[in-house]
Symmetry: C2
Subunit: 447 residues, 2 copies
């Protein structure tokens, strides 16, 4: 029986100290989502495998956690059939929040009011090889609006990025791209089929330099002429407006490309007029989710901490098509709670009060003292001041140690002297200072 | 591709309307837990099957959801082996929050400060036959303290019950029992082995009457003399103190029984002296979790709504023994969020504001109007007033319908007249009243 307990690799326990920080992040994100009129949604951890399979590519299918059918899963199956997961598993754990969201919207389309604005903060599971910073269970914080093509939605997401990271104290830059522009570039140089190659090449510009990028593009099948047409785009410079103006010259032949430029001009225009306090930068190398996004693409980077993107998303014009509800456009972003946690820990950004679960400990020195203290404790708790009494009467030293180890900032001591004076000794554990406080003023004092 | 999407039976989507109510319940519970110095903990959804198996009895083992090993689960296994779930599954979804908690405490005992107070609000999964009110995925809200035998912990839980249900507006009664008393009764009448039979018989008293209970006890192997000794207990009456006094006479021969009485007297004494505003009633028929609880047993019933218990728990002296850490006493309770939800819905107890995700909708009547409105909207959101603009300019009627269907209480209209007056028309959708409000006072008006 005395097994040494452990948890599956790639999963985590979140200790109280970690949880309080995580909750601070989730609460902040949730509060901002709510102020923008997004409503919460939760979907089941398990989805039918038919809902999940084929939605994330072959690689994604392999990363789905499958749940063994309950009861006698093998009954009536041949040996061969049992070797096929599709026969013994009908359900899987969700892989992201986007496909369940699409499934929900299609399943409940008759009851929903469109545009439908929802946020969803839940764990997802992936049978990835565990490694540093990559887990098999992690939370996603998604916010999406579906059922409108209005660019005000993109602007709303920019504002949400601004407000979430301002509230958390993380300095960030928002990079934006637009799939229509990328397609327009490929179209304009006569290679509509090579959009991805071109985007990847642009992404390498900083690392390998212009000449190498050109060489690589030719290796990938672009002729000299096309590469030359691309040159002004590789050399784009200036602010967003200047970049867009330079792009207009090259993309004038591509209707889609010009539409993309117009979209970005609209979004950037709103951002400026509203005084959104966030660096928003057009970045043509942003290739995130190029397979499914159809318009704007977002990615957020922390300015003061080296880590991948901490938030990202984009617009998808046909997300619900996979479930038989075509032509429903949506746009959304997802906040990466784990990376945000790492940034905030690295930069020491968590407010001090997030680190303590209990604000006040009442020392327990015996029956009479306890009787005097309990009503005060009850008052504090009634005022939602997190507080507790050491549950057993005993040595002061042990109880002070407990307070120290728990990081409790205030200790209230009531011994015989204090009983007589009807005033507690309140010790500030951070400074070591002690003060006499009448019983009926303890709550106000520690607030 | 156009499959009609659905979710696995026994699971649920929680719509925004349901989620907002659920969050209200969770937030209230969490707030009370926090004021009592309990800190949050989360454990992974998946545990090793070795952690879960054998902890919930044979029946429980069957109800575990098992996760198929990832990769080629069948590789190297014989046909026979593949028919054994233990060969193809190493992980399972957690069945409750208690076993993972025990596993966590044992695994991290070196880092924890005892007494360790934690709460945990997470879903659990059971492969039960789905039926009304019974789901395969549901949340538990557990609060436990481990590492002390102090009865102050029991009192703390009584207070938590008082405060949670007061905050939610649900009138409840708390029933308490004590396993030591039940054992003492069995011991006193010379049948220490028949504790469970006797408890079950007491439970039937109201339903089938004294004579039938006596007959049943004799069928279950008690002789006439033992049943006669039991008679005063079957006829216990009066308040808690009176009941305990009557019990003392019968249980004087049982050390354990007297200890149980003393425990209850202590707890009831605290409850009275602290003025805890909750009906706490000694109920010897309470047999909940008799297999693992060793001291106090709790169960909460709603007074104004017919439903099973909505909260329950007890003390267990050796929870962590299963993982090789003996003699660590703990006590905890669990709130049943689904049933609490049903009670609150049935009694219409949710505050009105919980039902709307957006407080203010700005109607969108065109580019110029929109430009005037967006800065006001931004101010409201900055003040965390949940608000939105209809994302597309269009007919007023459609936009008012949207507000109605979403249950948005305030609609702000800015048309050409309002533009000129720099005052918006604010319509209260509940009363139909309209009022002119200067642009810079809209935030204060709708607060």
């Amino acid at each position: 029986m005395a097994q040494k307990p452990s948890i599956p690799k790639g999963t985590r326990d979140f200790s109280p100290a970690e949880m309080m920080r995580r909750q601070y992040i989730f609460d902040t994100i949730r509060r901002v989502f709510r102020s923008y009129g997004f409503a919460p949604l939760e979907t089941p951890s398990m989805e039918n495998l038919s809902t999940l399979l084929g939605k994330y590519g072959d690689e994604g299918d392999k990363l789905l956690f499958k749940i063994l059918n309950s009861g006698d899963y093998a009954a009536g199956l041949s040996d061969e059939e049992i070797r096929s997961a599709s026969k013994i598993c009908e359900k899987g754990l969700r892989y992201d929040l986007t496909v369940p969201f699409a499934r929900y919207v299609v399943q409940h389309q008759g009851e929903l009011t469109f545009p439908f604005k929802r946020y969803q903060i839940q764990p997802v599971w992936r049978a990835d090889r565990p490694q540093k910073g990559r887990y098999r269970e992690f939370y996603q914080c998604d916010v999406d609006v579906i059922g409108t093509r209005s660019l005000l939605c993109e602007v709303e997401l920019v504002e949400i990025v601004e407000r979430v990271f301002k509230a958390l104290g993380i300095r960030v830059a928002l990079k934006m791209n637009n799939r229509k522009i990328l397609f327009g570039i490929a179209e304009a140089i006569g290679h509509a089929d090579k959009m991805m190659d071109i985007t990847i090449a642009i992404d390498k510009l900083e690392k390998i330099g212009l000449d190498n990028v050109k060489a690589e593009l030719m290796e990938r099948g672009l002729e000299q002429e096309a590469v030359e047409k691309l040159q002004p785009i590789l050399e784009l410079s200036g602010d967003n407006a200047q970049k867009l103006n330079q792009l207009k010259e090259v993309l004038s032949v591509s209707e889609t490309g010009m539409k993309g430029i117009e979209e970005m001009e609209t979004v950037f225009g709103y951002v400026e007029r509203l005084g959104i306090d966030l660096t928003v930068e057009l970045d043509l190398s942003l290739a995130r989710g190029l397979n499914y996004y159809t318009g704007a693409i977002f990615e957020v980077k922390a300015l003061d901490f080296a880590i991948g993107s901490i938030c990202g998303g984009g617009r998808y014009d046909d997300l619900t098509g996979i479930f038989g509800m075509p032509n429903t456009s949506g746009v959304g972003i997802s906040f990466g709670a784990d990376r945000i946690y790492d940034v905030m820990t690295g930069l020491n950004l968590f407010p001090e009060e997030v680190n303590c679960s209990t604000r006040v400990l009442f020392v327990n020195l015996g029956a009479e003292e306890e009787a005097a203290v309990l009503p005060i404790l009850r008052t504090l708790r009634g005022e939602e001041i997190a507080s507790e009494i050491y549950p057993e009467a005993g040595k002061m030293k042990k109880q002070m140690e407990y307070a120290n180890r728990r990081g409790i900032p205030y200790v209230v001591i009531v011994g015989s002297q204090e009983l007589e004076a009807r005033a507690a000794t309140v010790k500030d554990m951070r400074t070591g200072e002690q003060q006499q406080v009448p019983f009926d003023q303890v709550a106000d004092f520690v607030k």
